[in-house]
């Protein structure tokens, strides 16, 4: 590659004219201008390549399913708005808003493991029923411990306040003697557990 004198480069850039060059550089300047004029500025084309690419595109397009072509083909669409047809759509939108605006489920609450104990030497069976098991006396049976007459059950409960009672022999509701209790509204007492 020819490395021209800086002043010749200025000439090529159009910053100076040939007359501005010192005499010793004029020949080099003329040569540079000649080379520049000889550059072919016609766009470069590859007719054979263009033809083959277009042919490939046509071939692939013909393989596509006709349904897809119909779906993607541009067409004119005219919309006519009838106000009464919007009502169901608005109703659906309202329903979606209601559904989406409902609070998200709260994250899992902290849990605490609790051991319930009842001394009931005469009992044949003891169960635990409360707000934590929908007062279902079949859900949480107590088991006999090693000590005579002592029944116990261990539960993992969410933090918060729970009310409960022991159910002795499937019929007798007994408040926990070791826990605070409140009126249950039915003339009995519910034990209270705050975790």
């Amino acid at each position: 590659m020819t490395d021209f004198h800086p002043q010749v480069k200025q000439l090529l850039d159009g910053e100076i004219t040939l007359a501005d060059l010192p005499p010793e550089l004029r020949a080099e300047g003329e040569e540079a201008l000649r080379l520049l004029a000889a550059v072919d500025r016609e766009p470069v084309t590859f007719p054979a390549l263009d033809a083959s690419v277009l042919a490939e595109l046509r071939r692939r397009r013909s393989k596509a399913p006709s349904l897809w072509r119909r779906l993607v083909a541009p067409r004119e669409v005219r919309l006519r708005v009838r106000p009464w047809t919007l009502v169901p759509a608005l109703a659906m939108a309202a329903a979606l808003v209601v559904l989406l605006s409902r609070p998200e489920p709260t994250p899992a609450a902290a849990t605490v493991t609790v051991r319930f104990v009842l001394f009931a030497p005469e009992a044949q069976q003891v169960a635990l029923a409360g707000t934590f098991n929908q007062w279902d006396q079949a859900a949480t049976p107590l088991v006999r411990t090693g000590a005579p007459g002592v029944w116990s059950a261990t539960l993992t409960l969410p933090a918060g306040q729970h009310q409960y009672a022991f159910v002795v022999d499937g019929a007798r509701w007994v408040a926990d003697p070791g826990a605070p209790a409140v009126d249950d509204g039915f003339g009995r007492r519910n034990s209270v557990l705050s975790l």
């Binding site: 109703a91 309202a94 329903a95 929908q134 007062w135 306040q161 409140v182 975790l195």
Partner: protein
């Protein structure tokens, strides 16, 4: 027909029907049809007023599980509904425009445990993070259920929170009172609570102790 469809869509989208369906599902097979109807009515009305419905459902199920006659269950349900209303009113007195349902349920329980509406308001005013209004009310009502008079229960919880008590410290108050009683010497729950309240007040007034500013629920 179109109008009917639109109305149906709006009805299904509305919360009252959705809430009723949820209540019915929870009561199915657990209570008598007449109690289920009453609970649905009370729950719909409560939900419309921003009150929790879960305590009503729980009370109905509890009554059925205990074999309580339907008329007595109905009476208990109406009483509970009134307590929920009273609790919400007491919390609004403390500045909460729309108290959260957890706090209202805790307030209703506090009323059932022997606290007054004024006590509930005072506890809501004293409560501040990290101690939620609901947790504060539960602790005070547990103390009341242990036999600590309402005034002393409120005083103890308020003093511990004012002294910067953590959630663990506040939740542990019933255990501390019980421990004080268990030590013997004829100490009553009220005396044990008063002793703890004095200690908390001394801590709150100690030099360098910053008293947190009250906040509303």
């Amino acid at each position: 027909m179109k109008t009917f469809c639109v109305a149906l869509l709006f009805a299904v989208a509305g919360t009252p029907l959705g809430a009723q369906a949820d209540v019915s599902a929870r009561l199915a097979g657990r209570v008598s049809p007449e109690i289920a109807t009453l609970v649905r009515q009370l729950a719909t009305s409560a939900a419309a007023r921003g009150l929790p419905v879960d305590p009503l459902i729980q009370k109905a199920i509890e009554g059925n599980a205990k074999g309580v006659p339907a008329d007595r269950v109905a009476t208990a349900l109406r009483a509970l509904s009134g307590q929920l209303d009273a609790a919400a009113a007491a919390l609004k007195q403390a500045g909460a425009a729309q108290p959260d349902t957890d706090a209202i349920a805790a307030g209703a329980f506090a009323l059932n445990a022997g606290l007054s509406g004024q006590n509930v308001t005072a506890l809501a005013l004293a409560s501040r993070p990290p101690n939620s209004v609901a947790a504060t009310l539960r602790v005070a009502s547990t103390l009341a259920a242990m036999g600590v008079p309402a005034t002393e229960s409120v005083e103890l919880v308020t003093q511990v929170i004012a002294a910067g008590g953590t959630t663990t410290e506040v939740l542990g108050l019933p255990t501390q009172v019980m421990a004080g009683v268990s030590r013997g010497g004829g100490v009553t729950p009220a005396q044990a609570a008063a002793g703890l309240a004095r200690a908390a007040a001394a801590r709150a007034n100690a030099p360098g102790q910053q008293r947190p500013r009250p906040s509303h629920p």
